[in-house]
Symmetry: C2
């Protein structure tokens, strides 16, 4: 037990990087609801998915039974360029809060893509390359996923076509330039390059775009062009599988310093970080081996978990993608722009700040009660390319909007009529 | 000897972080030329320097004899938030070059300031705090130093006033916002807040500013306001002392993997990175204990070392700062904007790319000769906030200019008349 002599940063040796991803579904008694064909309402088969996704990724997507998937050597070699990521003891934050709690964070921002998204991007690009494909298409909003995929494709010599939500394309020129620097083609969405883009532009000439629209365009291009497939950085089972590397490393690092966390906190949107961070801990819970308090944090401006419905919904505006069962506010819901603050000498990504806030709240509760809990949160990335929001905050012109019940009712009205 | 099994990243343990800075001057037989009083032309005394710099830093600046300065515990604790920095084996770059050479880089970009500048910023801010000062003033061009100092001052609760060259203030709004987020006040220079700024604006109403002008403004504010001192991120002896942590860590990491580098490469402008990286290796050379080939790399657009004169010159436009003996193009020389490319999944700072280019050239020579040299270069920082230049390059509108002999002659004409 080294509890009293914990370093600021615990690194695993490269030889200790986990060599298999963990599939939480294998330990779930109630399996996740299947993706549905939006046309028939029936569960999608592997054959229906292979025109959209790489074959190996379809297997990973549909496999609810295999607990571990070996990580191919080529992916492990790429991981070694930026992994293992450190498990950091937040001594400075503890001191500022004057709390008896011990706060740790798993920091995924130390790579050029600036976030954990690279963990899945390299895996998806690798399988596309293995299948002999020419390239991949995707969408990106904030740009983290697009950046990560561009890096991975550059490394493997794959073509990369990114549809970037038009408002981000214009407001985040630096994200766009990182992607271009890695050789990706970046198209503002909606565009005139796809049927769905033309249709949306005809109906809404001044639209600044949305993630749902960009997904539709990326899927259309992948399906229509031989040698291309579509890849996605969040939401899917395969992504959570790859991101389990975060939690597996965190758990191994905790074992090394003889600590078992009491509370695990992650920000949640598409779920790639949260699902990856908690995977092995949740596995222990499911197998009855240990108990952890797990907290998912989301912005009040986009309250999917806290005020949404657990229902099947569309994933894209064009309604050509599989239907997924999830906490949803309806595919027509558009959240207000949101933002957040900083800590520990790191300028966090806005979404990571939600997790930091929850960790601070828990640490302050410990201060009240005198408990010395061990609190882990996921610091998923840096906010270096989100500084427009920081500028607005510093200038006092940042606005935020928490949706009313009426706003939510409008979104729910668009849910597809599928038996929940 | 682990030469055949070198990890991608070699980290020292936190307990192995060097606990003293190394003062290369102690091993120099010919000591560096002293700073001169611009009024009298005589070497500056400690008494003359203390109105400008903190007392402890004046001592460090003038000490040519003490080989090691212990690093205060508070600074070591801060270092542990982001140090030790990794010594990385550039396996991917080696593979792409198909070279027998082994390439390593010491990566200093993994902190929010994005560069090695934080190593000296925290030291200078610490001594200001120890002296009971209210705050510090400085100038910043590209913004790395200003960002680093803002971080350090926020950590210690010191006031921080940054004069940012006006053209950078406008072209690098994100750098500016990082500084503001850390609570610094950022003023575009020249400004109406100082006498020297007013004078320059009256003479050149449309000027976009220069580093020399920003220095003059920062020094003026420091000298006129009780409780303030001026700090500088490069050029000075004290800065090279603090930056020796880079080289000391690199050397310790090499010892750990049983490697002795043949070639050490650093980009050179103000010298803070180069001086820090090579310090302990150069010390061994001076003491006759080992030999290394050391290469300083600079852009052809600003050829101080390769085409400049070794002479006393002004450090600022206002001519109120000490005169320093250095390779100079004359204080009136204004370089063309310059830029550079990338490697190893990292988007490097433009200046770091100069070192990368030199490392590639040396590795390709090894490919020709079949030699298996060990090549180290300093990767001083990331280019996340320099993406305007990448955008111009990607758009094919980047221009560069290599000065003619006539350009240089104009600069040299402004050198002060001091016995060289």
């Amino acid at each position: 037990m080294l509890v009293n002599n914990i370093p600021y940063k615990t690194y695993l040796a490269e030889s200790e990087i986990p060599n298999a991803w963990y599939n939480l579904r294998a330990d779930m008694k109630v399996k996740p609801a299947p993706l549905l064909n939006p046309g028939t309402g029936k569960p999608l088969t592997a054959d229906e998915l292979t025109p959209i996704f790489c074959e190996e990724l379809v297997k990973q997507e549909l496999d609810n039974d295999t607990p571990y998937f070996p990580i191919p050597k080529e992916i492990l070699d790429f991981y070694k360029m930026y992994r293992p990521s450190p498990l950091v003891r937040a001594y400075c934050l503890e001191k500022v809060l004057d709390t008896p709690a011990r706060i740790y964070y798993k920091f995924e921002g130390n790579n050029t893509s600036g976030s954990h998204k690279l963990n899945s991007a390299i895996a998806q690009a690798y399988y596309a390359k293995q299948q002999g494909l020419k390239g991949v298409t995707t969408e990106t909003g904030a740009g983290q996923w697009g950046t990560a995929l561009s890096m991975a494709c550059a490394y493997l010599g794959l073509d990369c076509k990114v549809f970037m939500v038009k408002v981000s394309y214009e407001q985040k020129p630096f994200r766009r330039e990182v992607m271009r620097t890695y050789g990706a083609s970046v198209t503002p969405s909606p565009s005139m390059e796809t049927e769905v883009g033309k249709k949306i532009l005809a109906e809404h000439p001044g639209t600044t775009g949305s993630l749902g629209c960009a997904i539709s365009e990326a899927v259309e291009v992948a399906v229509k062009n031989p040698g291309y497939r579509y890849v996605l950085g969040s939401v899917l089972n395969q992504v959570l599988l790859h991101q389990s590397i975060i939690g597996l490393e965190a758990k191994a690092a905790f074992d090394k310093i003889g600590v078992r966390p009491d509370i695990i906190i992650g920000c949640a949107g598409g779920g790639s970080n949260l699902g990856g961070l908690i995977a092995p801990f949740m596995g222990e819970k499911l197998r009855g081996e240990a108990d952890y308090r797990i907290i998912a944090v989301e912005p009040a401006s986009c309250p999917s978990f806290t005020r949404g419905k657990f229902a099947y919904d569309f994933c894209d505006t064009g309604m050509i993608c599989p239907l997924a069962k999830m906490y949803t506010l309806g595919s027509s819901f558009i959240p207000s722009p949101n933002h957040a603050g900083g800590s520990e000498g790191i300028l966090p990504a806005p979404e990571s700040s939600h997790a930091i806030r929850a960790a601070i709240d828990e640490a302050l509760k410990c201060k009240e009660s005198g408990e010395q809990k061990d609190i882990l949160f996921g610091l998923t990335g840096t906010g270096y390319f989100d500084l427009k929001a920081y500028e607005q905050f510093n200038d006092g012109v940042m606005t935020d909007y928490i949706p009313t019940d009426e706003d939510l009712a409008k979104g729910f009205a668009g849910l597809p009529k599928i038996d929940a």
